[in-house]
């Protein structure tokens, strides 16, 4: 395993973001079929309902991000939300109220093809019951222009497990794939042990990685850790996205995983544009343009 090289980052002129240019489908030849190129946007960890000093602008940050994405000159084919749509609450009624309001805010997105998945704040206290009422299944697959997307749920079990049933489902789905198919896994927690003593792991994530390992072109996009992180397990790249509520410290950079101090410029918050062609590249989008 190794961390992706920072030299792989290039500033893109004219874009308020940074692109990750390493080929995310390492075995894929530069022979993408004409018309198969597309891009999508990843939102993560919006934590609607959070109130606290880590983000005094919490009531408006999500709306700003929606406006930023609506302002992209080339609209994405679809949008994914990789969990923690809402901030947790013990009150089941309030949980549903937060999900309802969250759904109202993101309904302002110009792109209507949106894929949701839960984070532990949405789903761990009721095993995904409220999430399913508002957003549907917590694990599923879909295909887009030749790319197979697999959404994994590692949060409905409060012990951060995928569970044997979901792993069996994953294995059955992968059996239908060719080993050179392009596969994007979307999930909330890291599937690998990024920082176990900060709970930045999936208890049985190694089993999922083992199932994915025979496939040559696999990328994992996730959230949970509220910051960019790029990591390889063998040939499989794992990319964590920024949050839209508050940034967390780099793994192990401080004794506790407490949020970083608020900065009104919100440098640690944003969404991400994922472009898929013969390679896949990531462009980080700040909350507000400029």
């Amino acid at each position: 395993m190794h961390h992706a090289d920072r030299r792989d980052f290039l500033k893109l002129a004219g874009l308020a973001g940074v692109t990750f240019t390493a080929g995310l489908f390492p075995e894929r030849q530069a022979a993408a079929q004409a018309g198969s190129d597309f891009h999508f946007v990843q939102f993560s960890d919006t934590h609607w309902g959070y109130s606290g000093p880590a983000n005094p602008d919490a009531e408006h940050t999500l709306e700003k991000a929606v406006a930023t994405v609506n302002g992209l000159s080339k609209q994405p084919d679809f949008i994914v939300f990789t969990g923690d749509l809402t901030h947790t609450t013990d009150d089941a009624k309030e949980r549903r109220a937060r999900m309802k309001r969250f759904r109202e805010i993101v309904s302002a997105l110009s792109v209507k093809n949106i894929r949701f998945m839960p984070g532990e704040h949405d789903a761990s206290l009721d095993k995904g019951e409220a999430f399913k009422e508002f957003f549907g299944a917590t694990h599923y697959t879909f295909d887009h222009k030749g790319v197979h997307f697999i959404v994994l749920d590692n949060v409905s079990d409060p012990g951060a497990k995928l569970g044997d049933e979901q792993l069996t489902w994953l294995a059955a789905d992968l059996k239908q794939r060719k080993t050179d198919d392009r596969i994007v896994v979307l999930t909330h927690r890291p599937l690998f042990d990024l920082k176990p003593d900060w709970d930045w792991t999936t208890a049985d994530g190694a089993k999922a990685i083992e199932l994915l390992m025979p496939y040559q072109n696999v990328v994992v996009l996730y959230g949970h850790i509220h910051q960019e992180n790029h990591h390889m397990t063998g040939h499989i790249a794992h990319h964590a996205a920024k949050s839209l509520i508050f940034p967390l410290p780099a793994p192990g950079s401080q004794p506790k995983r407490t949020p970083l101090p608020y900065d009104a410029a919100m440098p640690g918050l944003g969404t991400r544009d994922v472009a898929v062609a013969e390679k896949v590249s990531l462009v980080e989008l700040p909350v507000t343009k400029g």
Partner: protein, 116 residues
């Protein structure tokens, strides 16, 4: 002279036996859990001293995970969960709740200090 040596050996043997016995008797450390804290959240032990962590919960299921020693268990209300451990390294080793328990779960942690 010979008699003194025998006595000394007997005494030495007895002392060694007591020491081994002490080393083999695990020390119990009780830790209770509730949202969103452990009590106590700092416990101390000696290097090489066998321990039994006696874990209880006052409210709901919590987790106890100490990655440095490969330990994890659920803590279920109404029962004692006993975890055996013999620290083989000195230092401070964190433990945390790994069963999501609400707004504050991320702060539910503690530390085991192992003294050389």
């Amino acid at each position: 002279m010979r008699r003194r040596v025998v006595v000394a050996l007997l005494i030495g043997s007895a002392v060694g036996g007591v020491a081994r016995l002490a080393a083999e008797q695990p020390v119990e450390i009780r830790i209770s859990a509730k949202k969103f804290e452990y009590h106590p959240n700092k416990v101390t032990a000696k290097l090489g001293q066998p321990l039994v962590l006696v874990l209880t919960s006052e409210d709901r299921i919590h987790g106890f995970k100490m990655p440095d020693f490969g330990l994890r268990t659920d803590i279920v209300p109404g029962q004692e969960t006993r975890v055996s451990l013999t620290p083989d390294k000195a230092g401070s080793f964190s433990f945390h709740c790994d069963v999501f328990c609400g707004d504050g779960h991320e702060d539910m942690e503690g530390v085991l200090v192992v003294e050389a």
